[in-house]
Symmetry: none
Subunit: 420 residues, 2 copies
Amino acid sequence: MIVEVISIGDELLIGQTVNTNASWMGTALREIGADMEFGTVIRDEEKVMHDAFSHALNRADVVLVTGGLGPTKDDITKHVLCDFFDTKLVENGDVLSHVKGFFEARGREMLEVNILQAHVPEKATILHNEFGTAPGMWFDQNGKVLVSMPGVPYEMKYLMTEHVIPMLQERFDLDKLYYRTIQTQGIGESYIAERIELIENEVRAAGYALAYLPSPGSVRLRISSRDTKANREAIEAFMKRIEGLMPKHAFGYEQDTLEGVVGALLRERGETVTTIESCTGGAVAARITSISGASDYFNGSFVTYSNEMKTKLVGVDPAILDDENIGAVSQQTVEQMAQGGRERLNATYGVALSGIAGPSGGTETKPVGTVWIAIAGPNGVFSKKCLFESNRERNIRRSVLTALNLLRCEILELNGEKSF
Amino acid sequence: MIVEVISIGDELLIGQTVNTNASWMGTALREIGADMEFGTVIRDEEKVMHDAFSHALNRADVVLVTGGLGPTKDDITKHVLCDFFDTKLVENGDVLSHVKGFFEARGREMLEVNILQAHVPEKATILHNEFGTAPGMWFDQNGKVLVSMPGVPYEMKYLMTEHVIPMLQERFDLDKLYYRTIQTQGIGESYIAERIELIENEVRAAGYALAYLPSPGSVRLRISSRDTKANREAIEAFMKRIEGLMPKHAFGYEQDTLEGVVGALLRERGETVTTIESCTGGAVAARITSISGASDYFNGSFVTYSNEMKTKLVGVDPAILDDENIGAVSQQTVEQMAQGGRERLNATYGVALSGIAGPSGGTETKPVGTVWIAIAGPNGVFSKKCLFESNRERNIRRSVLTALNLLRCEILELNGEKSF
């Protein structure tokens, strides 16, 4: 089964928006063993769209179209589809009541353009869009399938996951692929490769694929094969061996996040955490509370950005902050922050960070990217100095992930005396 | 002049790499008034490439190809190009000595495959690649141009900037394009369309393009035209009129961010801000401190997630929190949070948020997505109740953006008594 993805939108062509939808769809298709073989980006002009649909249906079995569906007048996709499949727009009662409900629930007035969103091509199977007002439309004609979806990423993802993927699996009787992922933090791609070299050779010799998927601060390792019971068991065994080689770094599987893993550990132990953040400015707390139900283990926290607030809010000794050989970015300061915050909020763990996020503010002894992290807990304080990079956004991201992983290791008593 | 960009590579189709090259090229082309009208992603298979080149040269004047050039074995682009343009590979002395020098300078051994990189199609104009070993190749045949470049982003950017862009400008005698963007917050696409309908008609009647680019909590409006002095002035006047119709929502231009705009306002006034966050869990503070130099106007802040912490850290009256008709998600609570935090940290403004981020925790009177926001400042407290949606991540994102925009409006004295 050959799939072409057509992304409609000027914003993609002039570079104002990066086409992350197509990447996401490529991954999602891969997981059901379907190959995206062509990706096409076009503007929302009638003739261009018509030609692209026609060319795509010539070379592919399935054409997935995103974009060009929405309430403003530059949306012409529906009319092109009617013309292309020789059908007409009819009002759909289900879509109309969904659109009405959508606006009522938000206490907002429904406009004429929104009512028009309930007009859909008669020949299409309508796919309910829980998160938006433009439905998906599935056309099945002459043995080929074309699906049109809105370009808003979360609406497209909902439609793909809930409707398109299962419908494609059934329609084309696809072989299922089996995937397992190990999530790691704090170890680079090439260091993982070195550490698991022997296992990696065995994985490949068994005919399985192993992919490294790096992002700043974390690397995912994915093993894949055809979905059989024997393959599942063999892959499970390889995963256990890989994890065993890096317990401090392998923190979870599949879509696990560090904040989710840490949250689950705290909840099952009846423990709580607070954060005392300088360079990350609240980003660790925001990560922890991005999980629904975080109130079970998180009551509150501090951002202590200035030296004055480090003293006023969590009691860091001003003499340390003023000492030019110690200062705010130091082991003493983060340890006092972690302990002070933990005591004041009566939390099981206090996580403190202080560093130089950049791009300016570095010195010879403390270059940009220097970040001290401390975890205060029942077993005392563990602290670690990190040296990240010069980019502010990536420094903050890596600081957040490292702090959460050090907290995980502290809860599991993996930190010990050895350097992390 | 119509341009098609063809990106070659499996990694783009299976979603392992996002196609940022195509976005970058779209922007670069726009700046010289050339429109990328088609973007195509294909795998590096001979027949697929041949078909894609042929199809592209039919519908476009210029075809820019990236990827499929490099020292590894999957590199078949050059052979396809020779076949396609009916020419043969010849050794190029300049390229060979560049490749030799490239390896010498790095103290690395040159392999047989690297020598082959100096073999180039006889009919192509060779474009020197300062940063890599695979040169660019420019074919000009039957009035159309096809350029092949490596897919490594910095090599492609070098070739585009130094060679392809200036060569295209000369070859096609191009006009420059001009475009301006207005950033808005807190108003949906269809509401903007309704509010600016008359101006939008005038914009389109003047022959300019107007595009809506929505994302959760914000919409960008972009007007574009050919780059002439008269068009610049006319677009500037349209922008002022559009802004005048929505002063509370239009917060900036081009790549402006709310945290950047708010930060600049605070700095120029010598004022400071603190945040007291419940449902956003530190995300507003993290946004504010994502800007380098935020320490000029931000000293610290609180996350008061539990009721206990709302009282302990910023002095919210426990009787209000315990009253089942008022509670934590209420006007009274956020106003006390904002004032309490502002006083304790001696900040000019206190920004407080309390709401139900979801997906669970909603009640009949306070459904998921209900968020109260208060801004305490020199003119007293302004507060607003928002009703967002059921998705936790988007609720938090919209809460953060709305709070920052309300702070902006409070600084600029736009909030007044009317509801926002």
